[in-house]
Subunit: 225 residues, 2 copies
């Protein structure tokens, strides 16, 4: 049996791996989980003993297949919960993350199945993030780009908003930046700030690079304009 904390580490490594595609360093995990580096090192020892991570001392870790499966299970729980809370308990898009973070470790397989069923086996959560399937096969990374990578003047459709900060999410929602909306990229400043107009809002919104890079657009099936 794995502890909640171990699950958190595996999930963190998984998510960092999705972002960087490289070995994950101690300090990155420490940052992500808000603990010190030695704490991470000792946990990595334990995860290595259980063959949940591959490790090279001083050079970071990657998940083993088994570790990845565990991480996917937790991510599935998390995203199903987010979807359920918004659909059936009237939570706002921006509020669900913290609640799901606490609950994700404590639901049974049975609960997971019932929630998935109640939602009709959804494929994405309210932020547009893909929900791992019940078989926990590693999803192929969907192609996609952040809105910061487009030319000024382009109109794109938001697929995913990968931020977790509720304040940021509220702000984005207020300014019409949510999965599904169309965004016209108005300006990309030299320091990375993106200004865009949403189909759902009157005024344009400006987002610093750190936020804009979390707003993703699905790679279009090359609509031969």
């Amino acid at each position: 049996m794995l502890s909640d904390v171990m699950e958190d580490y595996l999930k963190a490594i998984y998510q960092l791996q999705r972002e960087t595609d490289d070995r994950i360093k101690t300090s990155e995990i420490a940052e992500e989980l808000d603990v010190t580096s030695p704490t991470v090192t000792s946990m990595l020892d334990k995860l290595e003993d259980r063959e949940l991570v591959d490790r090279e001392k001083y050079r970071g870790v990657t998940l083993t297949d088994e570790g990845e499966t565990v991480a996917l299970e937790i991510v599935r729980h998390h995203r199903l919960l987010e979807a359920y809370l918004t659909e059936h308990l009237d939570y706002d898009w921006s509020e669900v993350h913290a609640e799901a973070d606490r609950l994700e470790h404590h639901i049974s397989e049975d609960f997971e199945a019932r929630v998935a069923d109640a939602l009709g086996e959804p494929e994405v959560d309210p932020h547009g993030s893909p929900i791992p399937s019940a078989d926990l096969e590693p999803p192929t990374r969907p192609e996609g780009k952040s809105i910061a990578e487009f030319e000024e003047g382009t109109v794109v459709t938001v697929a995913e908003v990968a931020d977790r900060d509720p304040e940021v999410l509220s702000y984005l929602a207020e300014h019409g930046v949510e999965p599904g909306v169309e965004l016209e990229i108005i300006e990309i400043a030299p320091f990375g700030m993106v200004t865009a107009r949403s189909s759902e809002a009157d005024d344009p919104v400006s987002l610093p690079e750190s936020v804009a890079s979390h707003v993703w657009v699905a790679a279009p099936a090359e609509p031969e304009a």
Copy 2:
């Protein structure tokens, strides 16, 4: 902040207190929580430090008002969850206990409020047990008797089935013993076994004293027959 484990102890003490109305002894708590006596003693030290229990060494504990409030909060969570799982996620009456036991420590005030709202502020859970109100005032103990305390031939209405064992609950449900049904007491054997016929089942059912004592009947408002 209280740990999950502390909450479990407070809840256990609360529930034992409902049953026995006396100081609760170390060994009773140990039994309830499936832990050894020294473990309970050391936990009681901590709860006493925090003024959540009143203690007399060698003679057991009672909850302080503050301890009772915490216990009521947990019980409220538990019973709301049980109600929600049966009403909205299609759980069976007999299955909800374990799931609620895990979740009860991890839901926010907000979640609690939304669940209560979705259910319409229910007053009892699926087992007929009263759900503490949101203000966490200690409920006055409802009058009531177990079916073992009636004369043979009496017809009673089941108000609460206070067992927690899913196997026992399944068995009872199969034989028509659930909150709301009418039960005709057919026989009370000298060793305490109760045989009764449910309005919801064809054949009578016999219950050993240990089970029968958990099947409660609300004290009727003395219907002057």
